[in-house]
């Protein structure tokens, strides 16, 4: 047992477990991201709205979610939220892989609240004269946002959004606490069954690092290709 033997965890059943965990982690990332970005955009617009109720909703959403640890979110959305649902909805959830659904909800909300602030900063960094000019030309608020401000804002917020994506990728590992069979969960399972802790976590580290570096490379590439224009 003295020597490290990575082949133990990279062959046979253990490999199958690790690969399935890795794939589920990627799926968690994709699903949460696709939910988080539109949600964050809506929340950012709410916070910038001239309607007080919407501003209040946006502020409560962001501060309420961002200031609670992700671990607590996970446990809340898995153990507490379903109990508050009406019974048919709860039964539906429990029949449809509740571990994954609840993990995606927690991850999307948590990432979404951070992304909302990044998007809000991006929108605010677009000169106010842009929206004034758009409104003067007859655009409504939403149309001015959609056609004039947001295209400029998104270019500015892409780097921080990629950074949030990186955080989201790493945060998927927290889902192990609610029994979501993602990479961290499968790694612990392999360790328990193989007694090869270093090898199991070594492989997991490499997998997380690889995807993280890809995301970082995308960020660097984007900044080279589309440098922020001075306005």
């Amino acid at each position: 047992m003295g020597e490290f033997d990575f082949s133990v965890v990279t062959t046979g059943e253990f490999r199958t477990w690790l690969v399935s965990g890795f794939l589920l982690s990627l799926q968690l990332l994709a699903a949460s991201w696709l939910l988080a970005v539109p949600m964050a955009t809506v929340v950012a617009l709410c916070r910038l709205s001239s309607v007080g109720v919407l501003r209040g909703f946006g502020a409560v959403f962001v501060e309420g979610i961002r200031n609670v640890p992700l671990l607590v979110h996970m446990l809340f959305w898995y153990f507490a939220m379903p109990e508050l649902l009406p019974e048919p909805a709860r039964n539906w959830l429990y029949e449809h892989n509740a571990e994954v659904v609840c993990a995606v909800i927690a991850l999307a909300l948590y990432s979404g609240s951070y992304m909302a602030e990044d998007i809000r900063s991006g929108i605010r960094s677009v000169s106010a004269t842009q929206i004034e000019a758009a409104r003067a030309l007859g655009f409504g608020f939403l149309a001015a946002m959609r056609r004039v401000v947001l295209p400029q804002a998104f270019r500015i917020v892409v780097p921080p959004l990629i950074s949030q994506t990186l955080n989201l990728w790493k945060n998927t590992s927290i889902a192990t606490v609610i029994g979501t069979a993602e990479l961290m969960y499968q790694t612990q399972k392999v360790e328990t069954n193989s007694f090869r802790g270093v090898e199991s976590f070594g492989v997991a580290t490499l997998a997380y690092l690889t995807v993280s570096l890809v995301i970082t490379a995308v960020a660097v590439g984007f900044q080279r290709r589309f440098p922020v224009r001075a306005i």
Binding site: F79, Y94, A98, E99, V177, G179, Q188, K189
Partner: protein
């Protein structure tokens, strides 16, 4: 040459060791059977806080065996890791120390008939209608991370869908919230959790069938056939006279902390699975 002499000497000692008188004759001669117990493992053997004496299921069994042999029993506390050496070196005559009978240990000591069977068990919700392990096929079962529960259950029900949590209470909550069909854990922990449920107990059932079994037996010195025959005969008599059953319920049955509703084994065999 010196090496030769030492080897001869060692051989001589070994010969003297094996040529010793029969252990059972020795025990009868001194009128005393010394049982090695853990005294730290309630209710198998533990120190009664009131009387400060060592009591428990294995202590009662040991005294009964001594009585059948016709001697008195003395109880000696030993450490878990020292169990087999204490027996081999003759400090105790018999081990009654929550000793699991395994194939590996058979190479160094002998075992009496199995005196207790523990293992991992499954708790299900009563309304699930599950009454045996094969019915768990394709069902979601929760347990705690890091143990052998998942692997053991898969051996019995390969198609089971196991979800693990950081702690056993979390897994139990998941079962209570209808997130899974069953909860698997070590028997003692499971009965303990069940005992703490209070009125909610009526909604849950612990399946009688074990997922894995740990046969506990008395440890005997190797190559003492007369001793093994005498101990096994004593245990068989205890089983036949229902005395063994009485002690099981005294230490594990309803009214105790563990509240085992039934006794799912008999003291009848010294065979263990591979």
């Amino acid at each position: 040459m010196r090496l030769m002499a030492m080897a001869c000497c060692a051989l001589g000692v070994a010969a003297a060791w094996t040529a010793r008188a029969d252990q059972l004759v020795d025990i009868r001669h001194k009128g005393e059977l010394t049982c090695g117990v853990l005294a730290t493992d309630e209710p198998m053997s533990f120190v009664d806080p009131q009387t400060r004496t060592i009591v428990g299921y294995e202590v009662d069994l040991c005294r009964a065996v001594a009585r059948k042999i016709g001697v008195t029993a003395t109880v000696k506390q030993i450490a878990v890791g020292a169990r087999i050496p204490e027996l081999q070196q003759g400090h105790v005559d018999l081990l009654a120390a929550t000793l699991t009978h395994t194939r590996q240990r058979e190479a160094v000591i002998d075992f009496s008939l199995t005196t207790f069977v523990t293992g991992q068990k499954v708790m299900v919700r009563r309304d699930s209608g599950i009454t045996n392990l094969p019915q768990l096929a394709g069902k979601k079962v929760v347990t705690v991370k890091g143990g052998t529960q998942e692997a053991n259950l898969r051996k019995v029900v390969p198609s089971v869908d196991v979800v693990t949590f950081e702690t056993a209470p979390q897994a139990l909550v998941a079962l209570q919230q209808h997130k899974a069909a069953a909860f698997i854990n070590d028997e003692v922990s499971l009965f303990d959790a069940y005992a703490k449920m209070g009125p909610a107990q009526k909604d849950f059932v612990i399946l009688a069938q074990n997922v894995s079994t740990e046969p506990i037996a008395m440890g005997l010195r190797k190559n003492e056939p007369a001793m093994k025959v005498a101990v096994d005969a004593a245990l068989r008599e205890l089983e036949a006279s229902a005395e063994a059953q009485k002690w099981f319920f005294k230490w594990f049955g309803p009214g105790t902390r563990l509240q085992y509703p039934t006794r799912n084994f008999k003291i009848e065999s010294d065979r263990v699975p591979d």
